[in-house]
Symmetry: C2
Subunit: 472 residues, 2 copies
């Protein structure tokens, strides 16, 4: 069977609109959000679970490797084809149905191709929302495959916590459809199989539909920027805030001065909120919020936040050097501009690490101390989610740095950072970006033999054919 | 090798205190919390993961079946030996170490033999708690194996949501120890293997240590009993409460009039909170709570609750017929007495069902209508967790009912209830009690062939030897 025969069959399964083979139309699917430029044999764009199943079955039987692609916003080369031109991309971008809201159960059943922003727009009238807050705008299937967390993890958890059910197509010769689409919140009648497909980059099956938990949307919010008295007092500040505010606290984000300055430089419309414009070395964004409607006689949240900060401020051992309560849209605009700002500083080498909450600042301090010796002329521009232990540890080198022409430089840098983060601190080398070609080496290095054996066995049982960009 | 040789080796591994073989000392371990009377070959009581591993390895090599037992508070025959006298019980009751609190990370690493109440007592000073609220007092390993939910699921979720890491011993010839004891909140570097051991009744491995998420303990609470205007307005009432209160709402429990009357009859010290003592057909317990410290000028929670109920009451289509705000300890005392009260009404046939939240009352109404025809002279004494869809659907027959001497009667009744609950309503036949000998038949009946194949494969890969009372 020749390749054009395959294309013909796939066109028959998917219809004309469902299969892209024009070189110019494939580029967007072949190009990653930040890295990667691959070459695809074709782009399959199924509109239903049945079509996904038919495509997968055909490709498995004919030895055609598939790379599932959702919003293609990932940063670890998990959703783009390699350079061979032999892999097909299976895009979820047309798989946006069904959309079934169950208001009483606070759940929605949605197609895996629906974008996060579209889901929340559709939900607006209901007073509910899907509580994953991200800079990017992924589609649901990719969110499941990477188990994204984001900036409100502290309050609402990750995609795993908010996923009740999935429909999954396995990469076997039948294109088996696993119906795990329960909308039940409590159900302990065996293995919770959907967990296997969450955070595993699509290697064990393609998510086509999700049943998601929804939360009452926040209706009152207050935010502040805090300057800790010293890095080692950040944990104390976090504990003090949680102690005073309990589940009011919906974000506790860390931002390095370097990242803040980069954002302010790159987005001139941002207001510099600091006295005399002097950006501190490290800033914390806190948000408190209520999903309840505000009631007469109730203290406004801004006042609550100011009162709590005042009490912390007056302590003898106050972990706080300064604080700026300000409008949420301004403060979040700064936070959400960090990623773009950092990208424009130079060549970016990004890490998505996580730690126990008490270890984050210790890790950052150690890096500040040791990096200049080990790898000089690198600017550390970290920011992240101290409330859940996540750090987007960004390293920037000058655009014309000759080291970047050395293919070993970046890998050596990664090895060095991961050695400290994973081996010395017990941290994770992929907090919420999951796995892809880009960090395969580190999966291989840091995964114990016994776990690799189990993963390979599970892979053979579920999707024996190659699927995605990770080798489990 | 004779049996006494086995006993000798196990004694060598575990020490004298670690192995129980006296018939009189074994009874407590052979007897279930509500059902079951088995006969054990021995009771092994290891104090460490290493001892568990050694015992398991020896037993697997010598073909001795083990039943892991934690607090032995389960209701599905998941933790007691069968009647053969050939199975050993592996009790976690001495495996209470370690206990390592990480205040900043809000996590604790604890031995699987620690009791829930002991954990929360130890935590009191820290202001944190492990937020699973149950009538029973299980040990942690069993809570993981059944993925218990309880009365505050609505706010805090189940054991799965609150488990960050596990240490597990597999039933293979090596007694392999899987170290999944990460304390990270975000970590997506492959399959989240701990999920396989949560809610699967110990069949895939024995949990010996847990790393758990802790939450700020509630410091303000208000409760009320609500009488819905009609059963079909209960969902409306739930939505109205969530809409007004957001994440303040920490419990929304349903109680049938029959169950409430049984509790009031059985525990004379309980106050009857209803006007003229007339217990309504159906009552809802709501709790709102805050983990934040109360601040000056802040409205007390009782007043918040009264205000919200007042606003619902004044609606033209008010879903509320009556409401009684009362002290939390009194109202929870009534709620927690339901289980004991119902047990004393006669012979109890208990179901642990779950539904989508909007289906619960429809299911209960249908049962009320059809049960008298299908199975006369049965009293329905349900109560449960409407906020998360769980229903403890209790059926009571008279103590001297001759039908109970017919071994097929109970099974026929179960089949009939499950047919409606699972097939007609898409519900679960085990919401939070997980699986055991008692509901094996229904696992076999309701688990799709494809899922059974995967489960059997995973069983062979992890713990190929028999472990526990469920056949996956």
């Amino acid at each position: 069977m020749t390749e054009s025969r395959h294309i013909e069959v796939l066109k028959h399964i998917l219809g004309d609109k469902g299969l892209v083979t024009e070189v110019s139309d494939m580029v967007a699917y072949e190009t990653g959000a930040r890295y990667d430029q691959g070459r695809a044999a074709f782009i399959a764009r199924p509109v239903s679970t049945a079509e996904v199943s038919a495509v997968v079955a055909y490709c498995v039987k004919n030895g055609i490797a598939l790379v599932p692609q959702s919003g293609n916003t990932g940063l670890v080369s998990g959703s783009t084809p390699d350079g061979s031109g032999q892999q097909g991309v299976l895009s979820l971008d047309r798989l946006t149905a069904p959309y079934e809201l169950d208001r009483v159960s606070r759940t929605v059943k949605a197609g895996a191709g629906l974008r996060l922003s579209d889901l929340n727009t559709k939900l607006e009238k209901s007073g509910l929302f899907f509580p994953i807050d991200l800079g990017a705008d992924p589609r649901l299937g990719g969110m499941v495959a990477t188990n994204t967390g984001g900036s409100r993890f502290l309050r609402y958890g990750d995609v795993r916590r908010n996923t009740l059910g999935l429909t999954v197509v396995l990469a076997d010769e039948a294109g088996t459809v696993l119906d795990l689409s329960s909308a039940l919140r409590k159900n302990n009648t065996g293995i919770d199989w959907k967990q296997v497909f969450i955070g595993t980059s699509g290697a064990f099956g393609i998510v086509t539909e999700c049943v998601l938990n929804l939360e009452p949307a926040p209706r009152q919010t207050a935010t502040a920027l805090l300057v800790p008295a010293s890095p080692d007092q950040v944990p104390d500040l976090l504990v003090a805030m949680e102690d005073a505010l309990g589940s009011y606290l919906s974000a506790f984000e860390g931002m390095s001065g370097n990242a803040v300055r980069a954002a302010l430089d790159h987005v001139p419309s941002l207001r510099n909120p600091f006295q005399n414009g002097a950006v501190p070395d490290f800033v914390i964004l806190v948000e408190i919020s209520r999903s309840s409607a505000s009631r007469e006689g109730e203290q406004p949240l801004d006042a609550v936040l100011e009162e709590v900060l005042g009490a912390i401020w007056e302590r003898d051992d106050a972990p706080l050097a300064d604080a700026f309560v300000g409008p949420p849209h301004e403060i979040w605009a700064l936070r959400h501009a960090l990623s773009e700002g950092v990208k424009h500083m130079g060549r970016l080498i990004a890490f998505d690490l996580s730690f126990r909450r008490g270890d984050i600042m210790r890790f950052l301090e150690r890096m500040k101390l040791e990096m200049p010796q080990a790898f000089p002329d690198i600017t550390i521009c970290d920011f992240g989610h101290i409330g859940d232990g996540g750090v987007h540890f960004n390293l920037v080198v000058a655009k014309d740095d000759v080291r970047m022409t050395d293919p070993h430089f970046e890998h050596a840098l990664r090895e060095w950072v991961f050695t400290v983060a994973v081996e010395d601190f017990g941290g994770s080398f992929s907090a919420e970006h999951a796995l892809g070609r880009k960090n395969q080496d580190f999966y291989d290095k840091y995964t114990p033999q016994e776990i690799r054996r189990l993963a390979a066995g599970l892979k053979a049982m579920t999707s024996p054919a190659q699927l995605g960009t990770v080798d489990f």
